[in-house]
C-alpha cells in the first residue's frame, strides 16, 4: 500500500512546493503608522504580526486541494503568496506553471464598457490579441443574458452581481495550469454557481491543479480530494478530504462556543508569538536561507546606505560649488574653498551625534525586547 502511494506521487509532476513560508505584517492603526513602515531609516515601534509561521506543503499535478481554516487563520495570505501577488517574508516557494487567481471583486474599470474591460483584463493577464478575439464571444456568453445586453455600455451601469460575473467569466477563460480560487463561487445566483462548479470540474478532469479556499465545507467536499487545514498561520493537518474535514468541523464547533473576546485574544496573541529564530531551531538541518527575511522586508543594507550617503555628499558638494560659482575642477582640488573648514567640523560633529543617538536608541530597544 505504502509503496504504491509512493510510486504514484513520483509519476505526478510537482506543481507547488512551499517550504517554511512566513509572512509578517505590521499592525498599522493610523495613516502615520503606514508612513512609518515605509521609511527605511531608524527604528519604528510598530508591532509586528505573523500571519504565516512556516507553512510547508506540496501540491502535485491534477490535485485539487482545499484550504480550510477559521477567519484570520492565514488562508488568504497563503493564497496571495502562492499566486505571487505578494512575496513571502521568508521561506521558499516553487511554482511550476502559470497560476491564475479567481476571487470576488476582481477589479473592473467603471468608465470602460464591458467589452473594453474584457480586453483590458485579458491584456493585463498577458493574453495575446488573437487569443482575446477568439475567446471574446465565449467570455461574454458565459457571463449571462443581462451582461450580453449591456456589453457595450460602461461597467458602472452594471449591477454588482453582473460585475462579478463578468470578472469571473474573464478569469475562468484563461488557460492556467494552476487555478487558485478564493471563494469566488459564491458570486451570483444559483444557476451561475452551478455553471461555475461545472467549469471547475471540467478543469479538474483536464488534469489541472486547483487550489480552493472556501468557508463552505460542502463546496470543498464537492471539489477537492485533498485538504490543508490552516490555523493561526500553521498547518494543523494535511491529507485526504475525508480525513481532515470531519476533524475540522469538530474543531469549528468547539471554537464557535467561545466568546468573541476570547477568540480575538487568541488571534491577537498568536500573531505575535513567533520569531524566525524559533522556526530555525525547530527545523535543524534545513538550509539557513529559508529562515532569512527576503529583500522586500529588509531595511536598507549597509551597501545601499553607503551609496546613498555618498550620493548625498556629492550632491551637497556640487550644489555648494555651484552656489559659490567655483569651477568643479577647482572645487575638487581644493574642497575647502567650497565648504569653510569650520562648517566641515560642525557637520562631522552633527553626524557623530546622530550616529551615537541611533546606536543608543537601538540598544535601548533591544533591552526593551529582552525585558
Amino acid at each position: 500500500m505504502a509503496t504504491e502511494g509512493a510510486t504514484t506521487t513520483l509519476e505526478k509532476k510537482l506543481k507547488i512546493r512551499a517550504r517554511f513560508l512566513t509572512k509578517e505584517y505590521d499592525m498599522m492603526k493610523t495613516k502615520s503608522d503606514m508612513l512609518k513602515t515605509l521609511i527605511p531609516f531608524g527604528n519604528t515601534n510598530i508591532k509586528q504580526f505573523w500571519a504565516l509561521k512556516g507553512v510547508s506543503f506540496d501540491v502535485y499535478e491534477g490535485d485539487s486541494v482545499g484550504i480550510v481554516g477559521l477567519n484570520g487563520g492565514g488562508k488568504s495570505t497563503l493564497l496571495n503568496i502562492v499566486s505571487q501577488i505578494i512575496p513571502p517574508t521568508s521561506g521558499e516557494l516553487e511554482v511550476n506553471g502559470n497560476t491564475n487567481i479567481i476571487s470576488v471583486g476582481a477589479g473592473l474599470n467603471g468608465n470602460l464598457t464591458g467589452r473594453e474591460n474584457i480586453v483590458m483584463k485579458c491584456e493585463m493577464l498577458g493574453m495575446s490579441n488573437a487569443d482575446i478575439d477568439a475567446k471574446m464571444e465565449d467570455i461574454i456568453n458565459f457571463s449571462g443574458d443581462q451582461v450580453i445586453k449591456k456589453i457595450d455600455q460602461p461597467v458602472k451601469t452594471y449591477s454588482s452581481g453582473m460585475k462579478s460575473r463578468l470578472g469571473f467569466s474573464v478569469l475562468v477563460h484563461q488557460d492556467p495550469d494552476i487555478l487558485i480560487i478564493d471563494e469566488a463561487l459564491s458570486v451570483g445566483d444559483a444557476p451561475f454557481f452551478q455553471k461555475g462548479v461545472a467549469r471547475m470540474k471540467a478543469f479538474k478532469e483536464q488534469g489541472k491543479t486547483i487550489l480552493f479556499v472556501s468557508h463552505s465545507i460542502s463546496q470543498v467536499k464537492e471539489l477537492c480530494d485533498k485538504v490543508i487545514w490552516i490555523d493561526h498561520g500553521r498547518v494543523v493537518m494535511e491529507g485526504d478530504a475525508d480525513d481532515v474535514l470531519p476533524k475540522f468541523e469538530e474543531f469549528q464547533l468547539t471554537y464557535n462556543k467561545k466568546s468573541k473576546a476570547e477568540r480575538a485574544k487568541i488571534t491577537h496573541e498568536s500573531g505575535r508569538d513567533f520569531s524566525l529564530d524559533e522556526l530555525r531551531e525547530e527545523n535543524p538541518g534545513e538550509p539557513e536561507e529559508l529562515f532569512q527575511k527576503k529583500l522586500y522586508d529588509q531595511p536598507f543594507t549597509w551597501f545601499t546606505k553607503a551609496v546613498l550617503s555618498l550620493l548625498t555628499i556629492i550632491l551637497a558638494f556640487t550644489i555648494g560649488a555651484d552656489l559659490k560659482a567655483v569651477p568643479l575642477r577647482t572645487a575638487i582640488l581644493h574642497p575647502f574653498s567650497v565648504f569653510a573648514f569650520h562648517w566641515f567640523i560642525l557637520l562631522v560633529v552633527i553626524l557623530v551625534f546622530l550616529m551615537t543617538f541611533g546606536i543608543v536608541t537601538r540598544k535601548r530597544k533591544e533591552r526593551h525586547v529582552l525585558d
Binding site: K31, L35, N100, A106, G107, M124, L311, T318, D322
Partner: protein, 272 residues
C-alpha cells in the same frame, strides 16, 4: 541597490504590457467627451497661445530671445514642462487608481507609473511635432545640437520615473500628497523658467546667485536643456556641475523610490 536594479529590470521585461495598457487610462478619462483625446492637445495649445500673447507680445514686447522670436523660445521648454507636469500628477495617482484592480492578480505593480508615462508620451510626441512645424515657420533649422534632444529626453524619462515611483507609493497611503504635489507643481512652473527667460532679467543679472539656485531644480535642467538642443545654444557636457546635480538627484530618488515601492508591494494588501 539591488531593489533599484530589480525595478529597472521589471520595466524592460514588461515593455509590451506597458504600451498596450497605457491607452486605457485615457479612454476611461475621456469616455464621456465628444472630442475625446483631442483635449490632450487642445488644452496645451490654448495655454501656449495665452503665454505667447501675454509674455511674447505684452511683457517682452516682441523682443528676441537668443536670437529667436519668443514663441520659438517658449515652445521646446513649454511642451517639456507640460509633459512633466501632467506625468507627475498622473503618476502620483496611478497607483491609487489601479491598485484595486491589481490587488487580485499577478501583476508587475512597478510598471503602473510607467503606464502613465507611456500614455502621456503619446501627447508629447504630438506636441513636439506641432512645435517643430511652428519652429520651422520661424526660421529655426535643424543642427547637430538637435541630437542633444535624445540626451535630455533620457534625462526626462529617468527623472519622471524615479519621481513616479516615490509619489505613487506615498499617494496610496496619504492622498493629501497628491494635492500637495499639485500646489508644488504650480510653484515649480514659475521657478523653472518655463515662460520667463531668467537670463535676460535685470534683477537676476545683478544677483547671479538667483539663477544658480534655480539651476539646482531638475525641472529647470530639462527645460533649459531642451532649449539648448532646439535653439542650438550649448552642449550638455559643458555644464558638468548641473549634470552631476541632476543625476545624483535622480539616483537618490530612484534608490529611495524602489525601496519604498518594494516594501509597499510586499504588504500592499494592508495599505488599501
Amino acid at each position: 541597490m539591488k531593489e533599484a536594479w530589480l525595478v529597472l529590470l521589471e520595466q524592460f521585461k514588461n515593455l509590451g504590457i506597458i504600451n498596450r495598457l497605457a491607452k486605457y487610462d485615457e479612454k476611461s478619462t475621456f469616455q464621456a467627451h465628444i472630442l475625446g483625446m483631442v483635449w490632450q492637445i487642445l488644452d496645451p495649445l490654448i495655454n501656449i497661445s495665452i503665454y505667447w500673447f501675454v509674455f511674447g507680445t505684452i511683457m517682452y514686447a516682441n523682443r528676441l530671445m537668443d536670437g529667436y522670436k519668443y514663441i520659438v523660445w517658449l515652445l521646446p521648454g513649454f511642451i517639456a514642462w507640460q509633459f512633466m507636469r501632467s506625468e507627475i500628477l498622473g503618476a502620483s495617482k496611478s497607483m491609487v487608481n489601479r491598485v484595486q484592480m491589481v490587488s487580485k492578480m499577478q501583476f508587475p505593480v512597478s510598471t503602473i507609473p510607467s503606464m502613465t508615462l507611456a500614455n502621456q508620451l503619446i501627447n508629447y510626441w504630438w506636441m513636439l511635432g506641432i512645435s517643430v512645424i511652428i519652429m520651422f515657420a520661424y526660421h529655426v533649422r535643424p543642427s547637430l545640437y538637435w541630437l542633444e534632444f535624445f540626451y535630455y529626453f533620457i534625462c526626462m524619462i529617468a527623472f519622471l520615473y524615479a519621481m513616479g515611483l516615490v509619489t505613487s507609493t506615498i499617494t496610496v497611503i496619504v492622498r493629501d500628497f497628491h494635492t500637495l504635489l499639485n500646489s508644488a507643481m504650480q510653484l515649480m512652473f514659475w521657478v523653472s523658467g518655463t515662460i520667463f527667460n531668467f537670463e535676460i532679467n535685470d534683477t537676476v543679472k545683478v544677483h547671479p546667485i538667483i539663477i544658480r539656485i534655480i539651476e539646482i531644480n531638475p525641472f529647470y535642467y530639462i527645460i533649459d536643456g531642451m532649449r539648448d538642443a532646439f535653439l542650438g545654444r550649448a552642449w550638455f557636457f559643458h555644464d558638468v556641475k548641473a549634470m552631476v546635480i541632476f543625476w545624483t538627484i535622480v539616483a537618490l530618488l530612484w534608490i529611495l523610490g524602489s525601496h519604498i515601492h518594494l516594501k509597499f508591494r510586499s504588504r500592499f494588501i494592508d495599505y488599501i
